[in-house]
């Protein structure tokens, strides 16, 4: 079996050979170096054979001598395939363009991800990257190696302590660490701690300085709580530090209505799509639906980008929710509870994060014109320490 390998590349022909001198013809061809395979008997003087395309000239030359009729049944293999392709140039070019497009797209940078940095520094890194020619939409052929980029970034941005640059497929991933400068406290600033608000001190912890108030003492705003002057009348101050937790009181007025309107939607939304060019839009999908009930519509624009260039045509997606209006009347108890809750929430928003509401009391409650009016007293525990610098007058 010398030959017979790679017949797909060489091309094979399936023929019928008919004639009185059939065997002699086959034998003569074989003597000339042809390879015959799959010789099957059809009838009296007719056989089916498979030959290689390269042997075809020999067969043609000899068939006259042996008076054989040859009919080609099928042609197989690469040469015939290529021949067929030659007549379908459009298909070939389409496939080629497809390959080229895939190749180009695979070698285009699609995204840059930066993690571990604050937005300012991130923007700087991004602008530096684009000055090196690295931005979404640029091709990766001309790009420098990630290691080189890492070095350049560290050189150009002194605030960066370290940056890791990794290229993963079509995206760049950067992980940065910002340099934190520990400024030496040059000189202790002389300061005292005073009360920021009126309150009853519940807990005191002065880490530096000398306390001048006591727990369970009611202090007014501006009262000295701790002093940085360690020795009395020495005139030498340090920076006082500490925490003073105190109970403070707030008066809160809230109005609330007994009836309220609610818009209720279920999560189900109908999507409809349209293509938008500036203000003009062409509906594409879902425009045939008619709505009789009240609906709420949300629209989003998806812009398309090609090689960093924004295509002026946008895809607009509209979500349409069914909307139901509901009137809800609240009992006065519910309404009061609700208002107390909202009052607490809005108060907490105005205070420090650590502040905690310990108690609340309704001072006054009145109802008129379908409204409930409340006056609340809210007890809060919070830090009232405030640092006040002392000018030493020198």
């Amino acid at each position: 079996m010398r030959r017979g390998q790679l017949t797909v590349l060489q091309g094979t022909l399936v023929l019928t050979v008919e004639g009185q001198l059939l065997e002699a013809f086959i034998h003569a061809c074989v003597k000339q170096g042809c390879t015959f395979s799959d010789i099957t008997y059809l009838n009296g003087r007719k056989v089916k054979v498979t030959v290689l395309l390269q042997d075809w000239p020999v067969l043609r030359r000899l068939r006259k001598n042996y008076r054989c009729k040859i009919k080609i049944l099928t042609k197989k293999g690469a040469p015939f395939f290529l021949n067929r392709l030659r007549s379908r140039k459009a298909l070939v070019t389409a496939v080629l363009i497809g390959f080229i497009a895939a190749f180009l797209l695979a070698n285009t940078l699609w995204s840059i991800k930066i993690t571990g940095l604050d937005p300012e520094l991130e923007a700087e890194v991004e602008s530096k990257l684009s000055s090196y020619g690295i931005q979404p939409g640029s091709s990766t052929f001309s790009m420098k190696q990630p290691r080189e980029i890492q070095r350049l970034l560290l050189e150009d941005i002194p605030e960066l302590l370290w940056v890791g640059v990794k290229k993963q497929g079509t995206s760049y991933q950067l992980y940065g660490v910002k340099q934190t400068n520990f400024d030496e406290a040059d000189k202790p600033k002389p300061s005292n701690i005073v009360a920021a608000k009126k309150g009853l001190i519940t807990k005191m912890f002065i880490s530096k300085g000398r306390p001048t108030a006591e727990v369970n003492e009611v202090v007014k705003k501006g009262k000295l709580l701790a002093t940085g002057e360690l020795k009395e009348d020495s005139g030498e101050f340090i920076e006082a530090e500490g925490e003073v937790l105190a109970e403070t009181w707030y008066r809160v007025e809230v109005d609330s209505e007994l009836e309220r309107e609610q818009n209720i939607t279920d999560g189900d939304a109908d999507h409809s799509f349209s293509i938008a060019i500036n203000d003009f839009s062409i509906p594409v999908w879902g425009f045939w639906r008619k709505y009789e009930e009240q609906v709420r519509m949300e629209s989003y624009n998806h812009s398309l980008e090609l090689f960093g260039w924004k295509v002026p045509v946008q895809l607009r997606e509209s979500l349409i929710y069914n909307n139901e209006e509901q009137q809800q009347s609240l009992s006065s108890d519910q309404s009061v509870n609700n208002s107390v809750e909202t009052a607490k929430q809005s108060l907490l928003l105005q205070l420090d994060e650590e502040a905690e509401i310990t108690d609340e009391k309704i001072l006054h409650e009145s109802k008129d014109h379908g409204k409930v009016k409340l006056i609340l007293l809210v007890k809060v525990e919070e830090n009232i320490a405030e640092t006040k610098y002392v000018s030493q007058g020198d």
Partner: protein, 97 residues
Amino acid sequence: MSKWQNQLRNWVSQYFDLPADVMLDLPRITTIGSLHAYIENCTGLLHFSDREVRIQYRRGELSIKGKDLRIKMMLKQELLLEGELISIDFKELKEGG
């Protein structure tokens, strides 16, 4: 091929323990059960049908009978036969024939 040359070849192949097919231009037929027959050293195809294949070799003629015979592959001196083999007959030509 003269007679004395033939005898000499016979003697050489026996004396040196050489394979007979090399020395004597005889066909070498390898069969796998009755499924395949692999014939080497053949010089020509005389007749082909699905019931009988006749093959020429240097010194005679070979007739293979069977059912649904077909030639899987055919090269200059080799031939691979497939089908259901029934018999292989030899018909040696007389000297000078």
